[in-house]
């Protein structure tokens, strides 16, 4: 595993738990020599090969790679939705929430109902559910939209509801699988700011999958580059850029260019 550290100071602004108002405490996500093979015999596909990765508590790690590099598989393994063929995945028993590219909201429930169901699954009482739902909708700036059904909301608003629902699970680890991939640039940009603010408040450990290099640099404390077929960790970049960041700022563009170069190198090697 090559590790390219681009800075001497590792930005770890979320590692220290802040006092007051914090819900998640973050947790370490650790993958040790994880491989995942789908199918068997001749048709077997090795999605991940010997992936080792450690995400310390409160770190925002972005996973990037060409399609078919097993990014989504990696998240499913961490979520416990699938089991690795070999190797070990550990979240130290922490609760894990998952945001998908699709909002995956329940269409028969209102926005508030979707958030509330996550609270209900945790066994909260009615009064507390109502209060927490209102708070969470405010957190994602959807106060006043709680009574709308998913089909009455725009794509960006649906992802906000999905984010509120993920936060409602009171998880320590948040997995995000290209959650803004289907949104227009403007909406995505606003949601980046929101995510920054929300994660900064909560000391969440985040694994964020994307194929957008700039998005990865904009959001991550660290960017991990995966190779394709099978997925392997080929490079890691620390992102020492001060927050608040802008996706179109020079430092973000500069580091994104480096990451892109590394990705290109990998892809050309793949083709030849």
């Amino acid at each position: 595993m090559v590790r390219q550290v681009n800075s001497v100071t590792v930005t770890d602004r979320r590692a220290a738990p802040q006092a007051g108002g914090l819900r998640g405490h973050g947790a370490t996500v650790r993958l040790t020599g994880v491989s995942k093979v789908f199918g068997r015999g001749n048709s077997a596909v090795r999605a991940l090969d010997q992936v080792s990765l450690e995400v310390p508590p409160g770190e925002f790690t972005c996973l990037i790679g060409a399609s078919g590099c097993g990014k989504s598989t990696l998240l499913s393994l961490v979520a416990g939705l699938e089991q690795p063929t070999s190797g070990e995945v550990s979240t130290g028993g922490a609760k894990v929430a998952f945001m998908f590219q699709e909002p995956a909201l329940f269409p028969w429930l209102t926005a508030a109902g979707n958030v509330e169901l996550a609270l209900r699954a945790r066994g909260l009482g009615k009064a507390e559910r109502r209060q927490r739902t209102a708070e969470l909708l405010e957190t994602v700036r959807l106060t006043g939209f709680g009574g709308k059904r998913p089909h009455q909301l725009s794509g960006g608003m649906r992802q906000r509801v999905a984010l509120a629902r993920a936060l409602a699970q009171d998880a320590d680890v948040l997995l995000m699988d290209e959650p803004f991939g289907a949104l227009d640039a403007m909406t995505r940009d606003v949601l980046h700011d929101e995510l920054d603010r929300i994660c900064g408040d909560r000391a969440l450990t985040v694994l964020f999958v994307t194929h957008n290099v700039r998005e990865a640099v904009r959001l991550g404390d660290r960017v991990v580059v995966l190779s394709s077929r099978p997925g392997r960790v080929i490079a890691e970049f620390d992102v020492p850029i001060e927050r608040p960041r802008r996706i179109d700022s020079a430092p973000v563009a500069e580091l994104a260019a480096q990451v892109t170069d590394r990705l290109r190198e990998e892809m050309s090697r793949d083709v030849s």
């Binding site: 995956a104 699954a121 945790r122 709308k148 909301l153 699970q169 640039a185």
Partner: protein, 296 residues
């Protein structure tokens, strides 16, 4: 995105995000379903009215053309016969008997079908075996069960109910199984990540998700139940218990074509009314979920 045109030039302005959220909300699909109830009712009624007019016109034309005029009544004679029968207690008594059987038979079918569907959808090995059995039962015309039912239960309401259930319960069960099977995998993932397990997974995710397919199953089950009931009432004639089937069969014995046609109209109207109710339920569910097409 071009780097020299920042999309968030005035991010420092207070209320920027609120403004954007507002703009986003404008982009959200607007509710075109807030049409007034009267408009909706009219929208679903005029095609029915037109259909009735067309039928009456064709009917009258055939009658005027003189084909089998001696025995084939025109709409005028039939409708006035129907009007007179509606003044008598006998027709209403018959409608009550038939409706009671329909409610009872269909109700039992829903109960039995739902239980079978729930059990079969939960237990995987059962699904393959019972699944094909259910489909087999569905293809068997339920009228074929009548000799069996009459031998088993005699000339009785039980025999009729038995056949209704055999005809209708498989559709109900199939609807539920299909609904459970086609619960979107992504929603299942989301539900599991949320911590919904076993019973709560069923209660809060799988059952609501399968509701549209279940209602479709109910609608089909009703159609089968109504057919079975009519066949049953023609075959299983119980003394002193007037039903629509008994009236029809009496008309047949007396070669009373006018009355027979009037009774057929009653049966048709009852069937259409119940079918419309299912249509309304189906439409309401779809609208709530944003699945409604313009046609519904």
């Amino acid at each position: 995105m071009s780097a020299n045109v920042p999309p968030h030039a005035d991010k420092s302005v207070p209320g920027y995000v609120e403004k954007l959220t507002y703009l986003e909300s404008l982009e959200a699909p607007s509710d075109q379903r807030n049409r007034r109830l009267a408009t909706r009712v009219w929208g679903s009624l005029w095609p029915v009215g037109l259909a009735i007019l067309i039928v009456l016109a064709v009917w009258q034309l055939v009658h005027v053309s003189g084909w089998k005029q001696a025995i084939f009544p025109g709409p005028g004679a039939t409708l006035s016969n129907l009007w007179h029968q509606l003044q008598t207690g006998l027709l209403w008594h018959a409608i009550a008997t038939t409706a009671t059987r329909a409610v009872l038979g269909f109700g039992l079918s829903v109960l039995i079908g739902a239980v079978i569907g729930a059990v079969v959808s939960r237990i995987k090995p059962l699904r393959a075996a019972v699944g094909s059995l259910i489909t087999g039962l569905q293809t068997l015309p339920s009228i074929a069960w009548f000799p069996f039912a009459i031998i088993l239960f005699g000339i009785s309401t039980t025999a009729i109910l038995f056949v209704i259930i055999l005809g209708s319960a498989p559709s109900v069960a199939n609807g539920l199984i299909a609904g459970v099977d086609y619960t979107p995998p992504l929603l299942l993932k989301a539900g599991k990540m949320m911590g919904l397990r076993r019973l709560s997974l069923y209660r809060y995710l799988i059952l609501p998700a399968s509701l549209p397919a279940f209602v479709a199953g109910l609608k089909q089950g009703w159609a089968f139940a109504w057919r079975s009931l009519m066949a049953g009432e023609l075959l299983v004639i119980i003394a002193n218990q007037p039903s629509l089937g008994v009236l029809l069969s009496t008309d047949q014995d007396q070669s009373d074509m006018v009355s027979a046609t009037a009774i057929i109209i009653v049966i048709l109207v009852l069937g259409v009314i119940v079918d419309q109710l299912f249509g309304l339920a189906d439409g309401a569910i779809r609208r709530r979920r944003g699945l409604a097409g313009e046609s519904s």
